[in-house]
Amino acid sequence: MKVLTYNPELCTGARECEKVCAQTWFKVPDREHSSIRIFEQEGKFRAEFCIQCGECIKVCPTNALYYDKQGIVRVKKDLCVGCMSCVGFCPYGVMYYEPQQTLAFKCISCGQCVKACPSGALKIIEVETVSTDLWQGKVGF
């Protein structure tokens, strides 16, 4: 699978990733429309984003969720009816939702955030298996 990987040790909390993600996919810079979310606690940063585990695929009633050829879980916009089953059932809470479009959205490993990151804390890599180690700087760094 082609996935995003993040290293909290390198993150400076610039949040350029959130801005460029939201801008790319929703034409607005606000965090609520970003598929990567940065959190701060006591001066340290952490990130959450889809790790392409695929658990959401089976809960979708319209077959809108699927693995593409690169092993990325994608949302078919014209099939999504906005039921939020995937939002509720994502084991990592990283399926997000746009209420005005009634559309589920998530990280699709496009790499825009990688380019925008001023401190090299993000990469796109190829892996066989996935876990939240991808949020911990333990894979690809």
Binding site: M84, G88, F89
Partner: protein, 713 residues
């Protein structure tokens, strides 16, 4: 698209309106007798007083019929509506359809609550409700086509009759592309509905994972019989792609917040609570038996050692797992499970591998345990044939159990039953009887009358003892009882018989609260519960909601709330959703007011049609206590103890007959006291009639409503 003969008898062109905050603001009227098809406006008064769903159904039906209308008269209608929240996707259980008609078994209004796609798709096709009136000369199909902007009444002579064939056939005929199938929904019945008063309506849903059709049922009170009597073979809607915005809700962000919260709650808690997503409603079979609440042998007993052979874990092993089995999009409680590739062993479809929708708990208990049948395959086969033939599994199970007890009591024998040995446990005989009802054999038609008319038949034709037959015939107002033993729960006795349409548990399911948890010990407590819960539960049917997400998955934090049995967090969810969809800000108290109008209106409607009074709310004795010596002796310790504790009697000095008589007298007296307390709490007279003050308070004191109650005040 399949090319078949289609004879269009009548047609009506229309433009699909934009839905405004959950309403299309028009209803569709179709007369299959004279071909009249028209649009009727939805008024602000209708929305304010009757909300939608069952409320709209009752309002439209009231104006369509006369005081003397019977189920088979042409002016009787079948009315179907979903409600303003029906068809949203953002919250589990938001796609229910409500069906009303004058019932062939009760002669008053019955109302049914079903899943499936028809109600929401009807709304997306432009209609808040549909009225079907009249009687056609030959079988017709009514098609509501949103894509062509046309409603038609057509003859389709090549169409099959039974649901599992007919639904697929119609979908093939009407779908131009494969994806069109997702947006087609059918309402169909089957052969049995032509020979029985217990006919059911099957509401389809297209299951995208299985790539096949599935069916839910509008079951109680015989709407399928009315449908087929009108010579309606099918009702179909052809709708368009939709999503969570199609209802044009007032506040999408608010809707999304509540929806996301509930979806997470279901994901977290269902796996460790009722496991609805894995086993559905039959999780109850084993539990009910353990609490002595599972009907066995025509409600004689409450449990059986074999019950756990068909408990939740068993059905989990039979149901195909890991499929999104919601009966409307977005339902993650997802209890609509199925057994796939089930090979039928009997009947005209023997050898076919089919999808069996179910069984639900009510079916497993009704056609299973209540008839002494504990075999999963037998239950599945009876379930399938009831569905496709168009007969209600609860009423069918209750009727067969009644016949079995009559057979074992010697009232019936092989000569009278066309050779069928109708003994408890004889699954083959039950299945064969089902095929005979479908075929319309003489005994099939007799059995197909249901418990109420069967009692009179057995008394008149076979000299059955009237007292015995009335005691064991589990029906009230003409409708068969659903599958809970109410003998030890006074509240549930009222929950069954103090209902509008008949003893279906949808109004009040109070058994656990009463018998197990003892949360409503006094008459006043029970009366309060029998005021609140029927009204609270009625509300779901005004809006298009399913009740299961309300109380079948609950965050344990609920135990810390001020009224945990009401599940306040979920009640607040519903307040938020209704307000977010309609733009009409309501409170939780408004929920009760909205329902109380419709509930009282339905009570007056019953009175108008000839029931709805105190005498009609009296249960058969088996619903209150032990009818036979066998029943008394099966729980002797409990019943003897009750004689001591309740009546201060010494059972050791009494004969069995004396003990049974004392119980009977006491239980009926207690029930009458409950009736008094409940009627008073509801604002009704001692005879069960809503007072003028109550009607005025509710704003439903229309002249024609007042005219009905005046005769009784």
């Amino acid at each position: 698209m399949k090319a078949v003969t289609r004879n269009v008898l009548a047609e009506f062109d229309y433009t699909v309106p934009t839905i405004e905050r959950g309403y299309t603001n028009q209803t569709l009227y179709v007369n299959v007798g004279n071909g009249e098809i028209k649009a009727k406006p939805v008024t602000e008064e209708m929305k304010l007083k009757f909300t939608g769903g069952k409320g709209f159904d009752l309002w439209l039906l009231w104006h369509a019929v006369k005081d003397t209308t019977r189920w088979h008269d042409p002016e009787n209608e079948i009315v179907i509506s979903t409600g303003p929240c029906g068809g949203i996707t953002q919250y589990p259980g938001s796609g229910k359809s409500l069906v009303t008609t004058i019932s062939p078994t009760t002669d008053i209004v019955t109302d049914c609550n079903t899943g499936g796609h028809f109600g929401p798709y009807l709304k997306f096709a432009g209609w808040d409700a549909i009225e079907l009136q009249g009687i056609a000369e030959r079988d017709v199909v009514v098609v509501v086509d949103a894509i062509r902007g046309k409603v038609t009444i057509e003859e389709m002579p090549e169409a099959p009759k039974d649901t599992h064939l007919l639904g697929a056939w119609l979908t093939e005929v009407l779908a131009e592309k494969p994806e069109d199938r997702y947006y087609i929904a059918t309402v169909t019945s089957g052969q049995a509905a032509e020979h029985s008063l217990l006919g059911v309506l099957n509401f389809s849903l297209f299951d995208r994972k299985r790539n096949d059709l599935r069916y839910k049922q509008a079951a109680r009170g015989g709407p399928g019989t009315v449908f087929r009597h009108k010579r309606i073979l099918a009702l179909v809607v052809r709708s368009r792609p939709f999503d969570g915005k199609t209802n044009n809700p007032a506040d999408l962000a608010r809707l999304a917040r509540v929806g996301a919260d509930m979806q997470r709650e279901v994901a977290k808690w269902d796996p460790v609570q009722n496991r609805m997503r894995n086993r559905g409603t039959p999780y109850l079979v084993g539990i009910m038996s353990d609490y002595d609440l599972l009907p066995v042998h025509n409600h004689k007993f409450g449990g059986h050692p074999k019950a756990h052979a068909i408990n939740g874990a068993y059905w989990e092993s039979r149901f195909t797992q890991d499929l999104p089995d919601g009966c409307w999009y977005g339902c993650t409680v997802a209890c609509a499970h199925a057994v796939d590739g089930f090979e039928l062993k009997t009947g005209p479809y023997k050898g076919q591998k089919v999808i069996v929708d179910g069984p639900e708990y009510e079916t497993a208990a009704g056609v299973g345990t209540n008839c002494g049948i504990f075999d999963g395959d037998a239950i599945l086969e009876i379930n399938f044939y009831c569905d496709t033939y168009g007969i209600d599994t609860i009423s069918y199970g209750a009727t067969v159990a009644f016949l079995m007890e009559c057979y074992e009591a010697g009232i019936l024998d092989k000569e009278k039953t066309e050779g069928l040995e109708l003994r408890f446990g004889n699954a083959e005989a039950s299945l064969e009887l089902l095929h005979r009802i479908a075929a319309g054999t003489p005994f099939g038609k007799i059995a197909g009358m249901g418990v109420h008319k069967l009692k009179a038949y057995l008394i008149e034709h076979y000299g059955a003892d009237a007292q015995f037959v009335h005691d064991i015939g589990m029906e009230n107002k003409g409708m068969e009882y659903s599958m809970y033993i109410a003998k030890e729960s006074l509240a549930q006795q009222g929950g069954y018989a103090l209902t509008n349409k008949g003893p279906q548990h949808d109004e009040a399911w109070l058994i656990f609260m009463d018998q197990v948890n003892n949360q409503i010990p006094t008459f006043e407590d029970k009366a309060e519960a029998l005021h609140y819960f029927p009204l609270f539960r009625t509300w779901f049917g005004l809006c298009g909601f399913c009740k299961l997400p309300w109380n079948d998955v609950v965050d344990p934090k609920n135990a810390l709330s001020d009224e945990p049995h009401k599940i306040p967090h979920h009640v607040q969810n519903y307040v938020d959703i209704f307000s977010a969809v309609t733009g009409r800000e309501i409170t939780k108290e408004d929920i009760i007011h909205m329902s109380e109008r419709v509930y009282n209106f339905q009570r007056v409607f019953n009175i108008r049609l000839g029931k709805g009074l105190r005498e009609h709310d009296m249960p058969p004795y088996r619903a209150l206590g032990p009818v036979t010596e066998e029943e008394y002796l099966s729980r002797q310790e409990r019943y003897d103890k009750q004689l001591r504790e309740w009546l201060g009697l010494d059972p050791s000095t009494m004969t069995l007959q004396e003990k049974m008589a004392a119980h009977r007298k006491y239980r009926y007296e207690r029930y009458e006291m409950l009736m008094d307390a409940v009627y008073e709490r509801r604002g009704w007279t001692r005879n069960g009639v809503p007072t003028l003050e109550k009607l005025q308070e509710l704003g439903i004191d229309y002249p024609e409503v007042v005219e009905v109650v005046k005769k009784h005040l």
